[in-house]
């Protein structure tokens, strides 16, 4: 059996340059494995170590996601191998398009019974791709999964639900998005990083994949940068805490918020 980790190589929008016209330029922002995705890598590894499954990382995006740094960062996190689709036609692709490409890759891998993903990507922050992928595959999609373990013929999982923690058994393929704290992810050590160089990477061409084409498209009308809020930025030295507290409380009283 194969467990797929669907992850993203992405920048933090905090580091993007945002124009007054609402343009978002990520060219000077550094990408990394998206903040919460290491949880999915770790869960996959732990489950696979118990079952002997193969763990395959899958990531899709524009051409910039395929660098040796990006490959190493993923392969040093417990993957057995990596499959990448890196094509500039996917630049800025919406969640449905990314999910469609991921689905085509997962189908191609063949004997996948579990796809694990992080809660949400750091750049887009929508938490949608994994669940659209479940729709695309026709599999059960579940959010907020806090633990996964192998059982005879399937998996036992736990999920955060509004009323508490739900336990479930899975007897067929599923796409699971993990909570941010499902497991503590290991920081790759020297051995993992050296080992990464030896692991296989397959680069698939978008043209070779059977991806359904988008039916609904978005036409940009306008964009803007939200007002930063005109904050006063009065900075008080706190080395004398009593004086600083008195000054702040005075200012807040004057501003009538106390």
């Amino acid at each position: 059996m194969t467990i797929v980790v669907a992850y993203k190589w992405a920048p933090n929008p905090q580091d993007a340059a945002v124009g007054s016209d609402g343009s978002v330029d990520f060219s000077r922002a550094k990408s990394a494995i998206s903040e919460y995705d290491p949880v999915a890598f770790e869960l996959a590894r732990q489950v696979a170590d118990a079952t002997g499954a193969e763990v395959v990382g899958v990531t899709v995006g524009d051409a910039s996601i395929d660098t040796s740094l990006a490959r190493k960062a993923a392969l040093s996190r417990g993957l057995d191998r990596l499959v990448i689709v890196a094509d500039d036609r996917l630049a800025g692709a919406d969640s449905t398009r990314l999910a469609a490409v991921l689905a085509a890759v997962v189908r191609g891998i063949g004997d996948v019974d579990l796809v694990l993903a992080g809660e949400s990507s750091v750049d887009v922050t929508e938490g949608q791709v994994a669940m659209t992928l479940a729709g695309q595959l026709g599999w059960l999609g579940l959010n907020a999964v806090s633990s996964v373990s192998a059982t005879d013929g399937g998996y036992a999982i736990e999920r955060d639900v509004p009323s508490g923690t739900a336990s479930m058994v899975l007897t067929g393929p599923a796409v699971l998005a993990a909570t941010t704290d499902a497991v503590l992810s290991r920081v790759p050590g020297m051995k993992d990083i050296l080992g990464a160089a030896k692991k296989p990477v397959e680069v698939l061409s978008l043209d070779m994949l059977d991806v359904s084409s988008a039916q609904v498209t978005l036409t940009a009308v306008s964009a803007s940068r939200p007002a930063a809020g005109n904050r006063q930025r009065v900075i008080i030295d706190g080395s004398d805490p009593t004086a600083a507290a008195a000054e702040l409380v005075g200012a807040l009283r004057a501003a009538k918020v106390l």
Partner: protein, 311 residues
């Protein structure tokens, strides 16, 4: 695809739908709800001001609501609505994802406004964690929209009949139990003053410092995400930011919080923002009205004392 002028809402066994109904009503005269989950949910939706309720039948014991996502998608596709609204919570995302996959349409998140633009639908969204806003026209099929669900005001309108639709839920996942967790209700959104703490706090026991200040100032306790997830110091419902509460109190006091985008988006509309942080280069000092550069362990007790009523 031929689309009607209707708006549909999809409900994943959550009876709190008036926010969705109100948003749907603003888009079309006729609103149809597709309900996965218990009959009781369908009946309550039927009385929430919709024109039609299509219910996918009573789930067999142990069937999670997410198992109905393919049925929800087929039902919505058959109805060919112009817009589909669903909740942006966990199960809502599964439903919207299945619809998006079937119709090959994007799910639109971070939605600020939706309106008709001629015979198209225009959607204004906050993108990339809130650094920019975009307005797009949706062409070629339905606008699939994720909104914060919940109830806004009381449901209105006479109850409509619940129409049952045949469904074949996925059978690959079975619920075996729920460990219930008591949760005290929190309404951060209603608080005039909110006192939030972040990773600058060194130990859970030190929370007493922060709750002491919150009491002295008459504010609700909140936190940054690392204190609600990973360590379990403060309930998740009190997390402020893009993954938690977006609030606009008159006064927001952020203690030991660095001021990263994903947190600050949650208080963009706050009246006055105060920061206490020991690092004078912390991002939050560029985004606050008043900042004290200092150790929270000395500044917070001083603040609490300064707020105490004079004898």
């Amino acid at each position: 695809m031929n689309v009607s002028s209707q708006t549909w809402i999809v409900v994943a066994d959550d009876p709190a739908v008036t926010a969705l109904v109100v948003a749907a009503r603003a888009l079309s005269a006729e609103v149809t709800a597709v309900v996965a989950g218990r009959r009781a949910t369908a009946e309550s939706v039927a009385a929430a001001g919709v024109d039609r309720v299509l219910w996918l039948g009573e789930p067999a014991e142990g069937t999670p609501v997410e198992a109905y996502a393919p049925d929800v998608a087929r039902t919505v596709a058959d109805g060919a609505p112009r817009a589909v609204l669903g909740s942006s919570d966990g199960a809502g995302r599964v439903m919207l994802g299945a619809i998006a996959a079937l119709l090959q349409a994007p799910v639109l998140s971070g939605v600020i406004a939706v309106e008709h633009d001629g015979d198209q639908i225009g959607v204004t969204r906050s993108v990339f964690g809130g650094v920019a806003e975009r307005r797009d026209l949706v062409t070629g099929g339905p606008a699939i929209i994720a909104l914060a669900g919940g109830d806004v005001g009381d449901p209105s309108g006479a109850a409509v009949p619940v129409e049952e639709v045949t469904a074949n839920p996925l059978t690959t996942g079975r619920l075996t139990g729920v460990r219930k967790k008591e949760k005290a209700p929190v309404n951060l959104g209603a608080a005039r003053t909110v006192v939030a703490v972040g990773r600058g706090l060194k130990a859970k026991a030190d929370l007493a410092l922060i709750t002491g200040l919150a009491d002295a100032i008459g504010g609700e306790l909140a936190c940054s995400r690392p204190l609600a997830e990973g360590v379990d110091w403060i309930p998740k419902e009190r997390n402020v930011g893009i993954s938690g509460q977006q609030i606009a109190p008159e006064l927001y006091v952020a203690i030991g919080i660095s001021g990263q985008l994903q947190h600050m988006v949650g208080v963009r509309d706050a009246g006055v923002i105060v920061a206490v942080n020991s690092d004078k280069a912390a991002l939050i000092f560029k985004q606050c009205d008043y900042g004290i550069v200092g150790d929270l362990y000395t500044v917070v007790p001083a603040l609490t004392a300064a707020l105490a009523p004079k004898p």
